[in-house]
């Protein structure tokens, strides 16, 4: 895949709270592949050591907005994997 010079060549995946503990990281930089969806990213993260504790229906946000499983992720996007919310 040819990347434009203005986009970084990776997708940053952010992990929080219990998920950051499970994977031992607060973020991962994944190489940007063509036709990558939100569910591709989630499947990738769940396959990592410790990733099995992340639920299949975990909420994902792309660039601060919740995104459906078939949402296309672009190079330079920030993808956040959100554990069950517990504010309030």
């Amino acid at each position: 895949m040819a990347l434009s010079g203005t986009n970084p060549p990776t997708i940053r995946v952010r992990l929080f709270a219990r998920y950051a503990e499970l994977l031992g990281a607060e973020y991962l930089d994944l190489p940007a592949a063509a036709e990558t969806t939100v569910s591709d990213i989630l499947a990738h993260v769940r396959a990592l050591p410790g990733g099995a504790g992340i639920g299949e229906s975990t909420l994902i946000a792309v660039n601060l907005k919740q995104a459906a499983p078939d949402f296309m992720v672009m190079p330079g996007d920030e993808v956040a994997v959100l554990p069950p919310l517990a504010g309030g």
Binding site: A61, Q66, G87, G88
Partner: protein, 151 residues
């Protein structure tokens, strides 16, 4: 921005953001850190957040609430370590009349819990700690928490 704060929440600040001479009804919700949860004795907790998204969603919640009812609303949520009895979240809504202020305040706290990316780690009297999962086994599972959050 500024809905999340590491400092103690000052209710007077929120009140002054929403009150005005034409608004006669002010409803405030405070969520305080309780000393118990799920049958366990809690001695403290720590809140963390996906901060830029949490700020954005709080902003959207306020705008949405002020468009649904003729009110002004303000909210704050603490981050970091809190002791028992501290204010974790504060929501203040002022309207011309009390009915809309009660309804809008209730709406805001329910939506905040459903939509703002904040997490809570409790510390128990036996020294153990755990991430709170309101959707997990043993928790009261809300139908609304299933599947997609209606952002």
């Amino acid at each position: 921005m500024g809905f999340l704060t590491a400092d103690p929440i000052r209710l007077e600040t929120l009140m002054s953001q929403v009150t005005a001479p034409e608004r006669g009804g002010v409803v405030t919700f405070l969520g305080l850190v309780r000393n118990h949860h799920g049958g366990r004795s809690v001695i403290g907790l720590e809140y963390s957040a996906y901060e830029p998204m949490a700020e954005l969603v709080c902003h959207q919640l306020i705008a949405e609430t002020e468009s649904m009812w003729p009110v002004r609303a303000a909210l704050r949520h603490r981050l970091g370590r809190l002791g028992i009895g501290e204010v974790a979240v504060a929501i203040t809504v002022a309207g011309h009349h009390r009915d809309e202020a009660f309804t809008a305040c209730r709406h805001l706290i329910e939506e905040l819990k459903r939509r703002v990316p904040i997490w809570k780690r409790e510390t128990y009297a036996d020294g153990t700690e755990a991430w709170v999962d309101p959707t997990g086994p043993g928790a009261v599972r809300s139908e609304e928490r299933e599947g997609m959050i209606p952002w």
